[in-house]
Amino acid sequence: MNDFKPQILAFCCSNCASSAANVAEGMKKALPDNVKIVQVPCTGRIEILHLLKPFEEGADGVYVAGCQEDSCQYVNGIAKAAKRVAQVKKMLEELDIEPDRIRLFHLSAGKGQEYVEAACEMVEKVKALGPFLPA
């Protein structure tokens, strides 16, 4: 089990999370290579189907890295994303799939350290859950 390297997809807000990524880069901190990033202009644009598709394609975990609740440039994008992540958690539960395979993180532009920690935390969590699809 411990050789298992989960494939994680991260939807990152191009305003806060991506700036945090730049800060992390400046700190010489890199994301694990099994975390793939999809940048979005605002996490509010991420639909439920966007969150399900990676699982269909074999991802082991998905997370959304967006703004703090009160600092979305588009007012309430992160609130919308939070509701959709919650809905997908419910859908996964209904399918007898661990809801922890999807998660939302609140970041901000300066939080380079937290940006990397979120990715590592997700990798560890999903690693403990095991592969999404049967071998």
Binding site: E47, M91, L95, I97, P134
Partner: protein, 222 residues
Amino acid sequence: MIVAQPKPIKEILEMVKDKKKLLVVGCKGCVTVCNVGGAKEVGILAASLRIARKRSGQEIQVDEHTLERQCDPEYVDELKDIIGDYDAVISIACGVGPQFLSERYPSTRIFPGVNTQFMGGAVEHGVWSERCAGCGTCVVHYFGGLCPIARCSKSLLNGPCGGSSHGKCEISKDVECIWDTIVRKMTEQGRLTELIEFRPPKSWTTARDGGPRKMIREELVK
């Protein structure tokens, strides 16, 4: 619009457990507007089915198609060249859709993917409320533009009943007593006395009590 909600995914999975090639068919009418059966929801249901079957090690092909409407034969016909390729079809239109598909394609198994709820409207984003019971003889103008048949728990035409309390219905604090609202509105409009005018009992023969209904408009029939 006709308002519906998705069937539990486990119920749908049970319906199609022995099927290997499915078509999920949406409708661009009412169920698109109430976010339950349009192209987006077709994609979500299809993805959920594929994920569930992949997880259980039983691969499945699930294709997606959304019709302009499932309650008009000319649009239902659109499936004629492809429907034979599938073991079954899941319709996520209101209850009319799967029946029109079943009638047009009698040799194909058709499953409903949603539970049809009521005729109503969106009172706010994501919240729908019943407004019409389809009784066949509209009387809302007698009641301040509000329908006691659809909106009173007892469908009373001479309410409110003793279960009305502080504007709420006795069945739940979340349910408005529509008779309370009707009386207040008629009072505000200076029309309260209209509520005590004698009217003969409503005929329910135009509602479901008269059996399944059909409407023919001669000027439109070809």
